[in-house]
Each structure stands twice: as C-alpha cells, then as structure tokens.
C-alpha cells in the first residue's frame, strides 16, 4: 500500500491557499488560446469551470448527455448555499464554517481543502449576486439567510426552494455567454465513453453522439470530469434518472483512484416509497426542518391504527406524540445533520412506531409554525415544496403533516483528487460531487452547491494553470494517434458485446435488482455478514446481466436502452467496490453506519486509531481492487466525538 501525496501546501492552514496562488505557475494570454480543455458535465461545477476557463482565454469543449446544459441535476437542489458572510451577526466566520464542515463530515475530510472551501464561500455569493441570481431578500433590500442542519448560525442563502436551479442558471448564463463568444464549444446529447491517456497524461475523450450513435474522438491538453455522484447505484434515489457513475468509472479503469465509495448520504426528508413501479424518490428540502417538527406516535397502537388508515395524524393528541429528535438532541433538535436524522427515523420505524401504509414513514409537521407565523409565511418559504408534495401524495400538507422517510441522496465518496483537484492521472481533474475531498463521511445541507461552485469558479481555474504552464509547448494532437484508436475500439467492442447479448430481461430489471441488494445490505445500516452477502449477490447479478440483458434497437441510432445498459453495467461493478469499502471500514462514521460499531445510545463509534484515513482504491481488473491510504492529519482542529446533544 502506497501513501498518497495530496500535495498540500506547507504553511499555516489559513495562509495555504493565498500562498499557493502567490507561487503557482500561470499561463500567459497568448498561450491560453493554444490550449484545449475538455469539461465533462454541465452542472454547477462543470458549467462554472467551463465558463471561467473560457473567460480566461482557454479553448474549452463541454459535454452533457442532456439536450441542454441547463438540465444538469444541480438544478434540483432546493434548500440553499452556505457562506460565511455573517450578515445576521450571529457569530459566523470562515473558521466556523470550516469547523462545522469538518465536524459534520465526522473528521474524515481533508482539512486544507475544507478550509479553502470556507475561504472562497463568500466570493461565490458575490459572484452569483453579480450574475443576477434572485436570492431571497429582506425588505431593506439586503440578502436574507436561513439556518440548516449541523450549524448553530444562519448562513444559508436561498432562492425560494429552487436555489440549485437559480445558481445553475447563473452558471449556464455565464457558459452561454462564452459559447456565443466562441471560447467554449458545447456538445449536448453527447456522453463520455472513455478517457484517452497518452504518455501517462490525460489527452482526450471518446464520446458517443447520443442522437446518431456515432463514436467521436476529442483531444484536450487537460480533461475535467464533473459528472456528479453515484447515488443511482441504489436505483431509487433523489438523483435524476440519467445520473451515473460512468465517466468516473472509465477514468477509474484508466488509473484514477476511487476514494471512500462507502460514504453515501441518506437524506432524512424524502417522500416515502409507495410502489414497485416507482422510478425515483423526491426530496423535500432540509430547509423544511427549520419550521417543521418531526414526530411519530408515542404509542405503538396509534402507529398501527395510522398504518391501517383508521386515524389521521391530527387525531393523535399532543401528549401522545414523540418529537424524537427534540427529545434525543435538545441542542440541535430538528436541525441535527442528515445522517443523524436519518438513522433516528429508521430506529423509530424499526421499533414499530412508523406510520403511513408501509410503516416506513414519520411525520414532518407544520401545524405549530403555521399557528405561530401564519400560513402565508410558510407558503412564501416553502410554497413550491408543498405543491410538489401534494401533487405526488395527493394530500394537503397545510392540513395534514407530511410523511417522510430517508432516501439515498448524495455521495461524499468519489474520485480521489489532490489539493489541486488533480487525480492520480496527470492532467485529469475531478470537480464537485464527483470528487471525494470536502465532505468526509457526511455532507452538511447547503454545502454541495457551495462546493460545486467553489471548485468550478475559484479553485480549478487557478490550479489547472499550474499544470498547463508545463504543457504550452505541446501542440494540439491529431486524434488518429494509436491511443485514441485503442480507446475507441475499447468502447466499440463493449457496445457490440452489449448489443449481441440479446437476452430476455430489460436493463431496468437488473438496475432494480441491484438497487434492492444495495438498499438492504449497504444502506442505512451495514454489517459484515450483509456486506459479504451483497458482494456475492452483486457478482452473480453482474454475470447474469452480461448473459441475459436485452437491448432492443441498434447502436447506430438514438437508443435510450443502450445508454442505460452502459450505465448499469458500471453500477454493477461500483456496487461491489462500495460494499468492499464498507466492509474494510470497521467503524461507524457519518453516513457509514456499521451496526457492530455503535455506542450504547446507538450513535456512531469511530475508530480514529485505525481508520483516520482516506481509502483510495485502484482498479486492477473486474472485481479486483487495491487500496491506497491517505492519512488524515488535523493540524488546526481537535478531533472529538461528534455530539449534537
């Protein structure tokens, strides 16, 4: 096992980023025009990076599988974006945002990266306001804040329940401007299929035009992957249907390392599962926990009656309600971090207090807030979420409490990157949710948008120059080099293999089966026996997939089933690695809860002595991986047990 070098700059934590920028290499304007950069993904990280690089004068190509860059799944983020502005004068600071993020991540993230994230958080708000992002405002005209889980201050900026949409449209606007100016070229309905590595450096990609099915070769002096998380390995999640791990899995197979895949986040407030035809789970923003109170009946009989639809929530008297988060965590109450809230909901439901038809739901109640603030205030704050809930569940949440249950939402793990966001392949960068670095074992609410935009606007545009300064003498390469041909053949063979199976079961069948295995054994509670079982079940399922999947149509046309098949094939490999990583980590931390390792009160029991490291996996061959470690050293922060009581 080799130690990984994260290239963390020396010097005091608070000065690292400034000193890095002061001393890094830069590329002069005439040379920028001669350098090509490929960006894959048009979410917050990808769009903001491409726009910024285009503005700087680089020649950028950006790819997305959707029909427009504005559709990337960042658009669905609801609640908000954190920054340490301290506008409400409640004692916030860059240090406190940094500290909360490290603690929220259960001391499994890299200190230097998180500090930089907190440092640039204020620039993001400035940038977005200048772009015209319509954040919520006070009557005075200044920006408004609200609070989110895992923090004692109000540092979250928001645009109703559509913050991700507004931030993405801001980045999409900046990107569109560069497309018009000709510095960025857009390839929509294109999906990356493989990475081209030449002489040890990332030099391009193979992409499939999803309309014609044609495989195309693109050269870049550097490649940036910003393709989001892998939550869809669970089939049911809050991710978009097309969200996938494939670009990350391709670069993993080409030599990038995959770090901490077992750190997955289960979001506590989602609309519960209701049928086996269900294709996705809908999130109800964490911001609702500002004004909603979470409870289950105190008596099992009441829960039972509710499950049988004999009573409604309103029929349960106040003294017979168990506000279990307020009871267990008086300091943070309903605003405990997501992993804690999710486990607490599962614990109540497993103990027989769950409500709703399936018994896998708890109440999120606004009665008290509506009484205190008036319906119009709640409507103004969460109107679109209430409407969304009513359309799905067919019940009015102003009158009856919402029913919610945890669901897979975000993945903290991802491709291993160093301080510069570069992978172990020189010239290959990974940004946003697709990398691993900032959220440790659990991400705090409103921090994903912050990280995506920090990486894209303020980190990568600097760090990539440090590499490209050494590439100015490298001319654009022709794409008929053997490395391009090899990569294209590799893709072509795999597609042919998939099309030739002509089996009996649909792609969705395999995806759903994989999801069941993952949710049951690698979900909210994990244990050694379950994880071992999952690995063996996934292997069998994967073998069956390659023997029996049926993909109609041909590869030379728009073929959604073929697109899905490629993604599910990769999930079938990732699922195994995720379980393996969870099996390796003999401790509980953040979103990774191993049932064998818990305190008497059912809280996470970390093992800092043996597991205070990043597990970065190297791909050897299918089903075979080698682990490398990056030790986590905390210079500024005292590592403690994470308590929200």
């Amino acid at each position: 096992m080799a130690e990984l070098n994260a290239k963390i700059p020396s010097g005091p934590l608070t000065a690292k980023w400034t000193q890095y920028k002061d001393h890094q290499n830069l590329v002069n304007p005439t040379n920028k025009r001669k350098l090509d950069i490929i960006v894959v993904g048009t979410g917050l990280a990808g769009a903001s990076a491409a726009a910024s690089l285009g503005e700087m004068g680089f020649n950028v190509m950006i790819f997305c599988y959707q029909d427009s860059p504005r559709r990337a799944h960042s658009i669905a983020a609801q609640g908000g974006i954190n920054a340490a502005k301290n506008y409400p004068n409640d004692g916030d600071s860059i240090y406190r945002l940094f500290y909360d993020t490290i603690k929220g991540g259960d001391y499994r993230s890299r200190e230097s990266n998180v500090f930089r994230l907190a440092e640039v958080s204020n620039n993001i708000i400035d940038q977005c306001v200048a772009q015209g992002v319509p954040f919520a405002r006070e009557y005075s005209g200044s920006l408004e804040n609200r609070s989110f889980g895992g923090a004692l201050v109000s540092r979250t900026f928001y645009a109703r329940g559509q913050t991700g949409q507004q931030l993405l449209l801001g980045a999409y606007g900046a990107l569109s401007r560069q497309i018009k100016l000709g510095t960025v070229k857009l390839f929509n309905r294109h999906e990356m299929q493989d990475l081209v590595v030449q002489d040890g450096k990332a030099r391009g990609i193979i992409a499939r035009d999803l309309v014609t099915g044609k495989l195309e070769r693109y050269f870049g002096h550097a490649v940036v992957v910003a393709t989001g998380g892998y939550g869809n390995v669970f089939y049911l999640s809050t991710n978009a249907m097309g969200s996938n791990v494939s670009a990350c899995w391709q670069i993993f197979k080409r030599g990038a390392y995959f770090a901490n895949p077992c750190f997955t986040q289960i979001h506590p407030t989602c609309i519960p599962v209701h049928g086996d035809y269900q294709s996705k789970l809908t999130l109800m923003s964490e911001s609702l926990r500002n004004d909603g109170r979470i409870w289950v009946p105190k008596n099992k009989e009441d829960a039972e009656k509710h499950r049988k639809r004999l009573i409604k929530a309103k029929d349960i008297k106040e003294e017979d309600r168990d506000y279990y988060l307020e009871r267990r965590y008086p300091a943070y109450g309903n605003l405990v971090p997501r992993d804690v809230a999710s486990r607490a909901a599962k614990e109540r439901c497993d103990a027989g207090y769950g409500v709703g038809d399936t018994g896998l739901a708890v109440f999120l109640d606004f009665e008290e807030s509506i009484r205190r603030l008036g319906k119009h205030v709640i409507e103004e704050r969460y109107g679109n979420l209430f409407q969304m809930y009513e359309k799905i569940v067919d019940e009015n949440p102003y009158e009856n409490p919402m029913m919610i249950y945890p669901a897979v939402h975000y993945t903290m793990g991802g491709i291993w990157v160093d301080y510069e966001l570069m992978t172990t392949i020189p010239g290959l960068y990974v940004l946003g949710e697709a990398n691993f670095s900032d959220h440790g074992a659990n991400r705090l609410g409103a921090s994903a948008l912050m990280q995506g935009l920090a990486d894209g606007y303020f980190v990568l545009p600097y760090t990539i120059q440090n590499y490209l300064a050494g590439e100015i003498r490298v001319p654009r390469m022709p794409t008929d080099l053997p490395e391009f041909a090899e990569a294209e053949n590799n893709v072509r063979n795999r597609i042919r293999k998939l099309m030739e199976i002509k089996g009996t079961k649909s792609v969705d069948h395999f995806h759903k089966e994989l999801g069941k295995i993952m949710w049951e054994n690698v979900g909210m509670g994990r244990n050694e026996a379950g994880l071992k079982k999952a690995i063996s079940l996934i292997r069998t399922l994967r073998a069956d997939f390659w023997k029996d999947v049926r993909i109609p149509g041909s590869q030379d046309e728009l073929n959604p089933e073929l697109e899905k098949a490629g993604r599910v094939a990769d999930f079938l490999e990732l699922g195994e690695l995720l379980a393996l990583d969870a099996l390796n980590r003999n401790e509980s931390c953040g979103g990774h809860f191993r049932e064998e390792y818990q305190t008497d009160e059912g809280e996470c029991l970390r093992n800092d002595e043996n597991y205070m490291y990043v597990a970065a996996w190297e791909y050897l061959k299918e089903g075979e991986f080698r682990m490398h470690k990056e030790a986590l050293k905390y210079e500024e922060i005292e590592v403690k047990q994470r308590i929200y009581k």
């Binding site: 940038q127 200044s142 049928g275 294709s279 649909s506």
Partner: protein, 246 residues
C-alpha cells in the same frame, strides 16, 4: 386501471411519423405518467418491440427535460406541473390517452416523442445573462434589490425552459420563455445596464429561429408548469419599444 395509448412514433427527424396504439392493464392510479410509460416500455421490450423514446431526467418537475403533449395539452390534464409530476389518478379507468411530441417548427422531432429544443439555448446565448467575469464581483450586499423586485425577478426566473409555452401556442411563439428571462434580468439593478442590448438581440434571435408572433391568446400562461405570468410579455414589449426608440 386499463388504458389505451395512442402514441406518436417517428424513427428520426427525416422519417414520417404516425400513431401506434397500445393497451396497458393493471396501472396503479398512484403511478406517475412517466412510470406508466416505463411499464409500457418494459412490456414492449418483453415482446421484442422497440420502446418509445421520450425525454425525461429529474422526474421532480425542475429540469425541464420532459415534454409530451397529452390529450391536446402540454404536460397533460393538470395545472402547474410538468409531465413527470402528472399522476395517473388524473385519468379514468378505460381512458384513451393520446401522446404526441411538442409540435413547433423550431423544435424538430428527433425520435418518437423527443424534440430538439436547442433553439432555446441559442436565444439565451444572445444575451440571457449579465456579462460579469468570474472573480470581479463586488461585495454582495453592496447591490441592494427591493424585495418586491427580487420576488418578481424570481417569479420570472422560475422558468424551466421546457417549451410548453411554444407547444401550446397556435403561432409557436416563444414570447413567454424569452420575456421570462428578459424580465428576470431587467428587474434587477445588475441587469439594467445591458437591458436594451439584451432585449433586442434575444428578440432578433427568436424571430430568426422561426418562432411565431404573440397574438395574446395566453395559452402559454395557461399551460406553463411554473405559472410564468403573461405580464412578463408586456414588460418585454415595453423594454423592446424603449430599446428601439431610445
């Protein structure tokens, strides 16, 4: 529920399309419309037929990828939702449902129910932004915005670019879409500086791409999943005239 589906099938943009009829049984009323199509596709795959291609992604009404003209209405028989948020409880057992793609010249059919909406991206590229460079922004609270205007801007900015307004309009006009972006930026002090140039360029591109004129029927507003108000069109007209004469 038992349903009869008449679905537009078209191999690609060059081919001619036609309606195909399918029957489905045992659909739960709690199923979403797209989940119903998933079930249909599962059935087609099992019978060795080609599944129906349709655009979709987030399935929570925000990405704007899903489209579908259902029984003569963009996003189907419910108000203020996208197709992915439409549930089968809005239909009756035994219903016949007609499903078509968006029909508008600037949105050519790509395959079956999928259309090409890149015309919208081209309009935004003409000026649907504030020209600010990364890193050059002032302290956020130095730009004060009245809450009234911030709220109106947010109302307009809620547009998801799905194209229902164009599909609903007998003239295939994109006025609601374009005016939503123009309004969002015009209502903010940051966006005023480029206001004249922006509205002229965006309208010119809208015309160039073949979108029709507005004849004030407001079908766009009626079918908009995000309830974008027609008052944005009035605001854009005002801005446009102002830009032209001054």
């Amino acid at each position: 529920m038992r349903l009869t589906l008449k679905i537009w099938r078209q191999k690609d943009s060059h081919s001619k399309g036609k309606f195909f009829t399918y029957t489905l049984d045992g659909i739960s009323p709690n199923c979403s419309f797209l989940e119903m199509l998933d079930i249909l596709n599962e059935q087609l795959i099992r019978n060795n037929e080609e599944p129906v291609a349709f655009d979709h992604d987030c399935r929570e009404g925000i990405c704007g990828m899903c489209s579908l003209y259902i029984n003569g209405r963009p996003h189907g028989p419910d108000d203020a939702i996208t197709t992915c948020q439409l549930h089968m409880r809005k239909f009756k057992d035994g219903d016949t449902i007609i499903v078509e793609p968006w029909r508008a010249k600037p949105f050519p059919v790509v395959k079956d129910l999928i259309v090409d909406r890149s015309a919208f991206d081209k309009i935004i590229q003409e000026g649907g932004y504030i020209s600010v460079l990364t890193g050059g922004a002032a302290e956020a609270n130095q730009i004060l915005v009245s809450k009234v205007n911030a709220d109106l801007a947010m109302d307009a900015a809620a547009c998801i670019g799905c194209g229902a307004c164009v599909a609903a309009c007998k003239n295939a006009s994109a006025m609601l879409f374009v005016s939503a972006k123009v309004s969002h930026l015009t209502l903010l002090p940051q966006g005023r500086i480029e206001a004249k140039d922006r509205v002229k360029k965006m309208v010119a591109m809208m015309d160039k791409l073949g979108f029709g004129n507005c004849t004030n029927t407001y079908a766009c507003e009626a079918e908009c999943p995000k309830l974008i108000s027609r008052s944005n069109i009035a605001r854009m007209n005002r801005e446009f005239i102002f830009a032209k004469v001054s």
